[in-house]
């Protein structure tokens, strides 16, 4: 590409230094305002969850309710259709799926990157190509298959397929191939086998990508709505998204309750995100930038 880099800029830079700082603060202010504006739906949601039914649609909006009401939040967590059960179900599914997914993906990524065997490259390509198949193609045959396997309308219908992630294998493999081969060779000379090298050398080096995959995978399972909608029928199996949907169906005019339920559905993701922000952003950036 043709870029004419201007000659050294240091003189101009000295004079320009003060002005950009004012400008920089101004832009910081504008962008913060824009960011907060983007988050107004969340603020509105939380605020509404503490209001009375009559105040829901008051306009202009009263962002901080005068007499905050806590009963909507209490309703979400107690009584019939309490979210406690949905939370337990979602946690169970997300934890088992994520554990399986990260374990199997680590093994497969090691095999595809650090063990030489016949047919490895074509197998890997075939494996990756499965990522191209849209989930919509798979739902109908999976429905038939799960009925036949006897896991339809059970948590296994989400956990078992959830234990396999093509993206995860890809992500970890990207990291594993950057570890110098000499490390493995030295271990070989010392008599270590592949399982030993995998467990003692490669995994400890891969803490960051493993954390990334764990967090991303967990959040996918936690937010998964489509699979739960298709494969779960009984109410006591519902996950948080289904429970939320059910709450809205059963209390269609209880807007405060709806917003309280929505708030509590978001809390775990906010916690996970704030705790693992670095890994999430890294993972998303590396997944997308490296394609």
């Amino acid at each position: 590409m043709e870029t004419t880099t201007p000659p050294v800029l240091s003189p101009g830079r000295q004079t320009a230094r003060r002005a950009p700082q004012v400008g920089k603060w101004l832009l910081t202010f504008v962008m913060t305002a824009l960011g907060l504006l983007l988050l107004l739906p969340f603020v509105w949601m939380i605020s509404t969850s503490f209001k009375t039914p009559l105040e829901v649609f008051e306009f202009p909006i009263q962002w901080i309710p005068e007499h905050p009401v806590f009963k909507h939040h209490a309703n979400v967590w107690t009584g019939t259709g309490s979210f406690t059960l949905y939370y337990a179900n979602s946690l169970k599914i997300s934890i088992f799926s994520t554990l399986g997914a990260v374990t199997f993906a680590a093994f497969a990524a090691y095999g595809f990157s650090r063990v030489k065997f016949r047919g490895r490259e074509p197998l890997f390509l075939l494996y990756l190509s499965m990522m191209m198949i849209p989930p919509q193609i798979l739902f109908v045959p999976k429905f038939v298959l799960f009925n036949w396997m006897g896991i339809y309308n059970s948590h296994w219908a989400l956990i078992l397929p959830g234990m396999f992630t093509i993206f995860g294998v890809f992500l970890l493999r990207q990291f594993f191939i950057t570890v110098p081969q000499e490390i493995s060779e030295a271990a070989f000379v010392d008599g270590a086998g592949h399982f030993r090298i995998f467990a003692r050398i490669i995994l400890p080096l891969a803490k960051a990508p493993l954390a990334t995959l764990t967090i991303l995978d967990f959040s996918w399972h936690w937010n998964d709505y489509e699979n739960a909608l298709i494969f779960l029928v009984d109410k006591d199996l519902y996950t948080v998204p289904l429970g939320l949907q059910n709450f809205v169906l059963e209390n269609s005019v209880d807007y405060n309750g709806m917003m309280a339920a929505a708030t509590s559905a978001m809390i775990p993701m906010i916690v996970v995100f704030l705790a693992g922000q670095k890994f999430i952003i890294q993972g998303i950036a590396s997944g997308a930038v490296k394609g």
Binding site: G23, L38, F42, F57, F59, A108, M130, I137, P141, H194
Partner: protein
């Protein structure tokens, strides 16, 4: 791929099959086998209601597609929904550009913009349903306040519902695209950008002729991955409108879901799902074909 030294020990290690075995097994069972089943099912009249009596009907499902107005509508709605991809890129790029060099608190701001993306889609859907409430919602309240007598019905209007859904999708995706742009901008040599900001008069030119071409591979990638995921989007639409009012937001993924799991026409739904696959492929091909004009590697 790094070339391995040819000492005997590196040539063929069958233990590798053990490492990949669980994953291969899982992917075979939950991806490959279902995909092959679907390929067969699309030529049948298989319905969950009529168990045990499955007929091969050749291309009948595809003939039916040709005359199915609901299907045509769902393709059109899907195409409209795809517009969210370029729009959210256009919104995201300036934000990323400014966050990359012209502000303090970059990390905090990055988090603010990114939050909608990681939130639970169903919860987001219900919040927006109330915000968009046609008669009492705060959005129309604000519109009325600035003098718009009859604001749109948003999600409950036949003509507006698809655009209301698009607005929600853009709101979700801007933060994601911004993060990727930011990562890509951070690899652009600082000197180039600094030179650009100092010489204010040519700021626009430096963006147009330096920054935009430099991040064009990222734009290309975001377009492709964005289109693919937009074609498959389900949750946010199902939870806000369930495809309605009427069929106003009945994009392909919802049409497939309804055909399969409301009407139990599994064979027909399989045929439609492969049409969705065909559209994914077509969009990718068009993008690949067009990339030479504007992507600079």
């Amino acid at each position: 791929m790094k070339k391995l030294r040819r000492t005997g020990i590196h040539d063929n290690h069958p233990v590798g099959y053990l490492f990949i075995a669980p994953s291969i097994l899982g992917i075979t069972l939950f991806y490959l086998v279902p995909a092959l089943m679907s390929l067969v099912m699309m030529f049948t009249d298989y319905s969950f209601m009529s168990k045990g009596d499955i007929q091969f009907i050749g291309l009948d499902n595809f003939r039916r597609l040709a005359g199915d107005a609901s299907f045509h509508n769902s393709v059109l709605m899907t195409l409209i929904f795809l517009l969210t991809v370029p729009v959210s890129l256009i919104v995201a790029f300036p934000i990323a550009y400014i966050l990359n060099q012209s502000v303090y608190w970059t990390k905090l701001l990055r988090t603010l913009f990114f939050l909608p993306y990681i939130m639970n889609g169903v919860a987001i859907a219900f919040v927006w349903m109330l915000l968009f409430h046609p008669s009492m919602g705060p959005i129309n309240g604000a519109l009325k306040m600035i003098g718009i007598e009859s604001p749109p019905g948003w999600l409950s209007g036949t003509d507006t519902a698809i655009y209301a859904v698009c607005i929600i999708q853009i709101w979700i995706m801007v933060g994601y695209n911004m993060i990727i742009y930011l990562a890509s901008l951070q690899e652009v040599p600082k000197e180039l950008l600094e030179a650009a900001t100092i010489d204010g008069a040519r700021l626009w030119h430096s963006i147009r002729y330096i920054t935009v071409p430099l991040v064009s591979p990222t734009t290309f990638l975001l377009l492709i991955t964005g289109f693919i995921s937009a074609i498959k989007t389900f949750g946010i639409i199902q939870a806000t409108t369930a495809g309605g009012p009427g069929e106003a937001t009945n994009v392909l993924s919802l049409y497939i879901y309804k055909t399969a799991f409301r009407y139990y026409e599994m064979g027909y739904a399989s045929a439609i799902s492969w049409m969705l696959f065909a559209i994914v492929m077509l969009v990718m091909l068009l993008n690949w074909a067009g990339q030479r004009r504007w992507v600079h590697y």
